[in-house]
């Protein structure tokens, strides 16, 4: 149950996510290869504007993309519709955004 605007939001968020996921994986491989422990990783990320922007954008894109994707699934398989469906979409996006930004602050803040 999506129209063209939600479709565009999901495609554009996917467009943003694709390089960010690749970057995220690259960071993981780099950290593992270098044998960095948690404290060493945090010492590099905390206070970093670059990491903050990178993961902040990542979390926003995930929140938009995931909420719209789950909206389609619950409409088709659980038959949620109308305001209930809109509420579910907004709530899912808000939860993903809240949890993601909390993690982001913990890593970067």
């Amino acid at each position: 149950m999506i129209g063209v605007r939600l479709y565009l939001a999901q495609r554009l968020s996917a467009l943003i996510l694709a390089p960010l996921v690749a970057g995220h994986l690259a960071v993981i491989f780099y950290a593992v290869q270098g044998g960095l422990d948690g404290a060493e990783i945090l010492s590099r990320t905390q206070g970093s504007v670059g990491f903050g922007l990178f993961y902040g954008l990542f979390v926003i894109a995930v929140s938009v993309h995931g909420a719209i994707g789950l909206r389609v699934v619950v409409h088709e398989h659980l038959k949620l519709a109308g305001r209930t469906l809109d509420g579910f979409t907004l709530a899912t996006g808000a939860v993903l955004l809240g949890l993601g930004l909390r993690a982001c602050v913990a890593v970067v803040g």
Partner: protein, 241 residues
């Protein structure tokens, strides 16, 4: 090795309130179609068996049924090609309400055809000169790719999204809409793009391609729907919608 002389046709009998499969033994003939076999049952065994057909040559799109779980045009499906262990299961199309036995109600199917802007919007009258459309022009070729639809309902019956989301307009209606979007003589483009960009519109297609796999005329409605997705998205980005 001797060939089987008969096939067991398990035909769904019933109406909108329910029903079940009934077995009929049908003699196998050369070049016999599934529609021939169903007609044989009606003429020889069960006069009350209801189904729909007209041209018998793959043009009218009325005889589609579910054969061994897959929607098919029965007038162009040979019985011998679908017999499995001497047995064939024939049922009405899915995703459409059953009227009786193998006959479905196509009201919702054609209603959605209209909702998707399936009606040609003329920009000229019969008094004007005939529009000159180059056969090799890009838009004409795009329209050509989808224009041979006979509205048999096979794609609609095969579509998972129609099954899950009854508001979805479906592959046939959207394919029709795409052919008109590419018709240079048509004046309803903006209205049509709005019609297919709403809640039950083209963006709900998951590109499972059941429609393209099973279309008896080998059309690709998924490709047409992808074209509508692009056209509507571009219209929004350009501020036209």
């Amino acid at each position: 090795m001797s060939q089987a002389k008969e096939a067991d046709l398990h035909v769904w009998r019933g109406d909108g309130n329910g029903g079940g499969l009934v077995r009929y033994a049908v003699p196998l003939r050369d070049s016999q179609t599934v529609l021939d076999a169903v007609t044989w049952i009606q003429r020889r065994l069960e006069p009350g068996l209801s189904f729909r057909f007209a041209c018998r040559v793959g043009m009218c799109g009325t005889c589609a049924m579910t054969v061994n779980g897959k929607p098919r045009w029965t007038c162009r499906t040979r019985l011998k090609d679908v017999v499995e262990n001497g047995r064939v299961v024939i049922a009405p199309l899915e995703n459409l309400p059953v009227i009786k036995d193998l006959a479905c109600d196509f009201s919702s199917f054609f209603g959605k055809w209209g909702k998707a802007g399936g009606r040609f919007a003329a920009t000229a009258t019969r008094l004007d000169a005939v529009a000159a459309i180059r056969p090799d022009s890009r838009r004409r070729r795009l329209a050509d790719a989808g224009i041979e639809c006979i509205n048999c309902g096979v794609c609609y019956s095969a579509c998972d999204v129609v099954r899950w989301n009854p508001a979805y307009l479906g592959p046939a209606a959207l394919n029709r809409s795409w052919t008109l979007v590419n018709d240079e003589r048509d004046g309803g483009r903006e209205k049509r793009l709005r019609a297919v960009a709403g809640a039950g519109g083209c963006h709900n297609c998951h590109s499972h391609q059941g429609c393209a796999t099973l279309c008896p005329n080998e059309l690709n409605p998924t490709l047409s729907i992808a074209g509508l997705k692009r056209a509507t998205a571009l219209a929004v980005l350009k501020g036209e919608m």
